[in-house]
């Protein structure tokens, strides 16, 4: 190590940890949708705040990469700011807010509206990687269910929703099937974003630090949201365009503007919204 390098290793993690995570990532890519156990390290940020995503990003990122970090679609939310600052400090990488410029995008809860391209990597922060967890809390049981492709329970749950509410009541973290084999939790993105995962040209990596799992969707992989013939999967629809840029077919945040029922609906993807406004100006 020469004197100009900081006291900690490039991208914070020691090399042995990175190798371990890299091997897990390679396995995850080879078995799309399967949750690879990995010896998640204790990171200098709390569990549940993106430690899995941070470890994945730290293991893939290199000095030539350009990093974008979003939370709720926005680059400016505090946790996104904090994670971006962490990487700028420990990996000295270039950072951006522009989706098209980024080579690695770490996200919490959204997929950018701008279509991703070949060569990009989208890293998801995942709180509960097990899609069956709320049906069966035991790891020993869910592991068997995945092994035997026993996903009946999930369909029963979704169907019970329909019977009770007339709708599938899952609006985010909506389960998907990967290339016809594994049922996978897409992380708590709104189901609005699910179709973007299908046949996506970018590599999608998922990191769950506290739960010690990494999984992946290679580019151009078939991703189907679970549904029923009589109740096909549908995404959220907004009955108005973005109040700032006028975009339709995007996911909107609802912002309370006063205490008299005033609401503004605006793009959740702040980069997308700004780009559109700049182009219009």
């Amino acid at each position: 190590m020469n004197a100009t390098l900081p006291a900690y290793n490039f991208a914070y993690l020691d090399e042995q940890t990175k190798r371990m995570i890299r091997r897990a990532i390679l396995k995850a890519v080879a078995i799309p949708g399967y949750q690879v156990p990995f010896a998640s390290r204790e990171m200098p940020m709390p569990y549940g705040w993106g430690t899995g995503g941070v470890q994945v990003t730290a293991s893939v990122i290199g000095p030539d990469d350009i990093l974008k970090v979003i939370d709720q679609g926005s680059d400016d939310t505090t946790n996104a700011v904090s994670i971006r600052a962490f990487f700028a400090r420990v990996a000295n990488v270039a950072v951006t807010t522009k989706t098209v410029e980024a080579t690695v995008i770490q996200t919490r809860h959204r997929i950018p509206e701008t279509p991703l391209s070949e060569g990009q990597i989208l890293v998801y922060q995942v709180p509960i990687p097990e899609p069956l967890r709320f049906l069966e809390p035991r790891e020993t049981e869910t592991r068997i269910m995945h092994a035997l492709e026993e996903y009946g329970l999930m369909h029963v749950k979704l169907y019970e929703d329909i019977a009770q509410n007339g709708h599938i009541a899952t609006t985010y973290a909506y389960p998907v099937k990967v290339e016809g084999r594994y049922v996978m939790d897409p992380s708590p993105i709104p189901k609005f974003d699910n179709p973007k995962m299908d046949d996506c040209p970018a590599l999608q990596l998922f990191g769950a630090g506290r739960e010690q799992r990494i999984y992946a969707i290679p580019p151009h992989t078939r991703i189907e949201s679970l549904d029923f013939e009589d109740h096909p999967f549908r995404v959220q629809e907004f009955d108005r365009p973005c109040g700032l840029c006028g975009a339709t077919d995007v996911y909107l945040d609802e912002i309370v503007t006063d205490d008299r029922g005033g609401r503004l609906f605006a793009c959740s993807d702040t980069d997308y919204c700004e780009e559109r406004r700049e182009r219009a100006a």
Partner: protein, 198 residues
């Protein structure tokens, strides 16, 4: 141990371990997430026979004391080099996480770990050096990571390769992941890829 031997063991590693390992891994990740894509690792290490440069670089990047390596026709110099630079030891086929074999045949489905239905990740990655990644037999690829279909061309000891791939794919989600190397280049065929001979 003679002076020349120990020199061989010490020489030829990454010049900058953190950055070189990242560079090699990033290319390997591209290769395995886009099966059939040929990536060039560049000149980043000098590995003793029978390891080709790409194989040596790959092991430097992701092998260590936690990953036994099986080498079909190993050499003392290679074992020393590997131990010195990575801490990885040469192991039996049944415990190998990385296996360097001369030809990808069905034999290895009997001898190397394939993972289990509960833990399909507990399987080996097989490295095979071939004569060319540009000339030879053509194969069509389909599956995750491939936009429609793609084609690869390989030259080497590949008589029952298609048969091996068929048997391997039938084991999914278990099975072996395969990396073909040639000099400093490589391409990967994870277990999820369907390979048909053209």
């Amino acid at each position: 141990m003679s002076f020349t031997q120990s020199q061989t063991a010490i020489d030829g590693g990454f010049l900058d371990p953190a950055f070189d390992a990242q560079g090699v891994f990033a290319r390997l990740l591209t290769a395995i997430s886009r099966p059939g894509t040929v990536v060039d690792l560049g000149v980043c290490c000098r590995s003793p026979a029978p390891l080709s440069m790409a194989q040596g670089a790959l092991l430097l990047a992701i092998a260590d004391g936690d990953t036994p390596v099986f080498v079909e026709e190993g050499s003392e110099a290679m074992a020393e080099w590997l131990a010195f630079h990575t801490g990885a030891r040469i192991g039996e086929p049944s415990e190998a996480q990385f296996a360097i074999v001369s030809r990808p045949s069905r034999e290895w489905l009997e001898r190397l770990p394939l993972g289990t239905l509960a833990y399909p990740d507990r399987s080996a990655t097989v490295l095979v050096e071939v004569e060319s990644l540009k000339d030879g037999h053509s194969f069509t690829l389909e599956g995750p990571g491939i936009n429609g279909t793609s084609r690869i061309v390989l030259a080497g000891l590949l008589d029952d390769f298609a048969e091996f791939r068929k048997a391997n794919h039938a084991l999914f989600p278990c099975g072996l992941d395969l990396v073909f190397t040639c000099g400093s280049e490589l391409l990967a065929l994870p277990r999820s890829t369907i390979v048909t001979e053209v």
